[in-house]
């Protein structure tokens, strides 16, 4: 049986039971590879549960820097008896299985084409530690010790990371180092050396940082000047609000303990968005963080914010549909429900960050956009970028940058006699001037309502007043298309008639797929859509390519729906590549889908490709 043999290019998957303390040990493993200068991209696959259910942590090691999920597993660390069979089955032929051999595993439970690496983990651990809780915690560090030794990850690198982790808690440091060494020594003495999968020191990480998108977006909100946050806990968005709290406690607290921010964990999502709207109406930068079910609950208020023109920011960390279970998996399935959120004729600004760096950038920019456009702005993350640590460019900030508070008249302007009509389009861009409560004793006050008003905010049920307002809002949306982040185009090296559109967390898998397809002679121009409303470059891209794919992570081709509808494009012009089983999309999946479709088109000149894998290809 030929064994896989790879340097700095493989996938390790940990199968654990949640609540067992494996999460921090697994992160330590991934980070130690990063510290070896080799890029990694880890992903959590976890249940809607706190203790006792299966959980996985998949680490892709890629010197080339591919950060998308690869698919397949080269080394399985099988620590969960419940999922043993499925875990063993997932290993690539020629791969490896690391397991706890304290109790003998019958050969029928192993695979002939997979090398089994048994370590009597429980026995070793029980021998060393008497306390049950210590046994549980250190067992994880022992296997990290064995694995890092096996893969050639330097001991000092791991030890340094442990030192950083337990800084200020020195009592915990030595026992952790001891169990690390216990694992390493055992592996050195008992596991086959040299091992076929290797981590070798490189300088491929450079100055990149390793962070999750939720923290990055929260930090963006801090830098963007958000001072009010209202939220209701929901996976996978809770850690965004919690990170905002953490960063604010650290960077926005005065010496006397008073806070330059206010955060409320509300009673539900309706109250969350209501508070955001109230705060933004009153001139503070405010946001909420939620996921699909929260967006559903906020619908009525989002309409009010749209019609009343309240600058509000909503971070939606997308997940699967209702209830629990799938919801702790990733999807891009709130595109339509956000774009057209609410009743009446509403349309909203959406931003699609591709990684934590863009979560930070867009997390800050969303507040400028919301203030400038006086409308809700959605930042659409998903679980894949929101809750997994991802390698990305370092955050950057220009201290000369100023908040764009948009068109707000202050007391001075009102005193100077500046005319004020809340819904008058004075500049022709559809954006009217607003005032904040409490500004001036006699000028600039107005009554905020949903729809029933004239251009001076007086109560009016007259049809022409309604139409005037609605056409202005349409004009404002056209202005938005010019202000939102522009799409990013990646031209193929060879001339091509094939184009591919994608957005958000699909980015790393797409980048890799483009290169893999190019190696096969299939060249693609690629456009990463970064916002809705669409810049004219997006329909232009479709028009200028004979074959156009749109890759997304939902069943109903939601961005295609939006694009073909809003830009009046014949839906037959855009071929969907759809991945929606809850796992992050892979380059392998995209390559297969495009290859099948293009192969067929190129070879036979027609005919749709067959569905494949977890998703489907359809027109």
């Amino acid at each position: 049986m030929p064994k896989l043999s790879r340097v700095n290019d493989f996938v390790v998957k940990f199968a654990n039971v949640n609540g067992s303390g494996s999460a921090s040990a697994n992160t330590l493993f991934a980070k130690s590879i990063l510290r070896m200068g080799v890029p990694v991209s880890p992903r959590n696959i976890f249940p809607s549960n706190i203790q006792g259910l299966p959980t996985w942590y998949e680490v892709r090691v890629s010197e080339q820097g591919w950060l998308g999920r690869r698919g397949g597993v080269d080394l399985m660390v099988a620590m969960n008896a419940q999922t043993w069979d499925a875990d063993v089955a997932e290993v690539e032929s020629g791969g490896f299985l690391f397991y706890d051999s304290t109790r003998a595993v019958p050969t029928s439970k192993l695979r002939g084409d997979v090398t089994a690496l048994g370590m009597p983990l429980t026995a070793l651990c029980n021998e060393r530690y008497k306390d049950a809780r210590q046994r549980q915690v250190f067992k994880n560090i022992i296997y990290v010790g064995a694995l890092t030794e096996l893969l050639g990850i330097e001991r000092d690198t791991v030890a340094k990371l442990i030192g950083e982790q337990y800084k200020g808690k020195e009592k915990l440091l030595q026992p952790n180092l001891d169990s690390l060494d216990l694992g390493r020594e055992w592996a050195r003495a008992n596991l086959p050396r040299p091992f076929e999968l290797k981590v070798e020191r490189r300088d491929a990480v450079k100055d990149r940082i390793f962070v999750d998108g939720n923290s990055a977006a929260a930090l963006g909100a801090v830098y963007g000047g958000a001072s009010v946050c209202a939220w209701y806990p929901i996976t996978p968005s809770s850690s965004l609000a919690e990170a905002f709290q953490r960063y604010c406690n650290k960077h926005r607290t005065n010496a006397d303990g008073t806070k330059r921010f206010a955060i409320i964990q509300a009673e539900d999502e309706l109250a969350s968005i209501g508070m955001v709207i109230g705060a933004a109406w009153n001139g503070a930068r405010a946001f909420t963080a939620t996921s699909g079910p929260g967006i559903s609950l906020m619908q009525e208020f989002l309409g009010l914010a749209f019609f009343a023109e309240i600058p509000s920011v909503i971070f939606d960390v997308q997940r699967g549909g209702p209830s629990t279970g799938m919801p702790t998996r990733t999807q891009q399935s709130d595109v339509i429900s956000c774009a057209y959120a609410s009743h009446g004729d509403t349309k909203h600004v959406l931003l699609f960050p591709e990684d934590p760096k863009e979560c930070f950038d867009m997390g800050a920019a969303a507040f400028d956009l919301a203030d400038r456009l006086q409308t809700p702005v959605f930042v659409l993350l998903d679980l894949d970028i929101g809750m997994n640590d991802r390698l990305c460019a370092p955050f950057a900030w220009d201290d000369a940058q100023r908040m764009d508070r948009g068109k707000v008249l202050g007391a001075k302007e009102l005193d100077e006699g500046r005319a004020f009509g809340r819904y008058r389009d004075v500049d022709g861009d559809g954006i009217a001037v607003r005032t904040l409560p409490g500004t001036h004793a006699s000028r600039g006050s107005f009554f905020t309502r949903g729809t029933t008003k004239d251009r001076d905010a007086k109560y009016s049920e007259a049809g022409p007043d309604y139409i005037e307002n609605m056409t202005r809002l349409q004009r404002k949306f056209e202005t938005a298309a010019r202000l939102v982040p522009q799409p990013v185009v990646q031209r193929s090296k060879e001339p091509t008639t094939i184009g591919v559109l994608y957005y958000g967390s699909t980015s790393p898998a797409m980048n890799e797929a483009i290169e893999l397809l190019a190696a096969e002679g299939l060249h693609l121009d690629a456009m990463r859509v970064r916002a809705f409303p669409f810049h004219h470059a997006v329909p232009d891209f479709v028009a200028s390519h004979e074959t156009v794919f749109l890759v997304e992570q939902n069943r109903d081709a939601q961005l295609k729906l939006l694009l073909t509808h809003e830009c009046q494009i014949d839906p037959a012009r855009v071929i969907s590549v759809l991945h929606y089983d809850g796992t992050p999309i892979t380059a392998r999946f995209i390559v297969k889908a495009i290859r099948e479709r293009c192969g067929a088109a190129v070879r036979a000149g027609a005919g749709a490709g067959k569905g494949s894998g977890h998703g489907k290809v359809s027109r």
Binding site: D207, G224, S227, K259, F395, A441
Partner: protein
Amino acid sequence: MTWIARPKFHHASLAKNEAGCTRRDYEGAISTLCAGCGHDSISAAIVQAFYELSIPPHRVAKLSGIGCSSKTPTYFLGASHGFNSVHGRMPSVLTGANMANRDLIYLGVSGDGDSASIGFGQFAHSIRRGVDMIYIVENNGVYGLTKGQRSATADEGSMLKKGDVNTDKPIDMVSMAIKLGASFVARSFSGDKEQLVPLLKAAIEHRGAAFLDVISPCVAFNNHAGSTKSYDWVREHNEAVNQLDVMEDHEEIVLQQAPGTVEEISTPDGTTLRLRKLAQDFDPTDKAGALDFLERHGAKGELVTGLLFVDRAPKDMHQHLGTVSTPLNVLGEAELCPGSKTLAAINASLR
């Protein structure tokens, strides 16, 4: 509804108050509610209270939900910013507004449908949080704007216009508010200005969650035999427990009070409440006593009006949150953005 334009509120003079404003400055657009609607009387009382306290109108933000009652902020304090939000959600919008700027006075106007049904959760949680506000429920026991459906405050056994009898238990908003931790709770009657105006003034000066349940008859849908909230019924059953006056000076707190005398309560924020205790056994600082009193008199079919409960050392949401004294909405880059140096350190911690 009638669409007859009625004159603005009557007033003796155009005398200026200490804020340099006349009473007219506290009025709003002409009401489009039904002639005789209790809600209009409440608007008039609001005008009078703010005028008498000399509060500059633009320092007030008035927010409401949806309903006839929620339409009324258009009819008073025309120089204030107003927000007619969505049904039952005024409390969250007001809470957010207050988070953004703690320096304004927040007046929330709601109805019994708005607060006791669709918005019951938001009512409860805004009270729990101690949002510094005056929260008024204009309680007519009916859905006025949608034409006469039963509300959750309608008494058991009351009849709707169409003749069906209410069998559900009523929600008593004042008892709820007391239980939920409101630091000022009162009930009054829209037609009784003598009582309502001082209560409003005290609520305005109170620095915490002040809740006012104002019985406000709907002349279109709830003023008929069988309804327990019509004019005559209220007049008969009201039992005024006390009366209060608001004083601007900072006098000492008088805690003990003999029946029939005057009680003054000074709160730490400088408000002095002057209470005339009419009921023998009533003490507005005794929470359990108030609940008990409400329960006992409620059982007799009586509506207790007056100042039911006041916490003399109220805490508001900003104290709980520990926010700076400067309103958050005026903080700039220097206070909000940690800058590039800090970001470089954050980057370094993420490698």
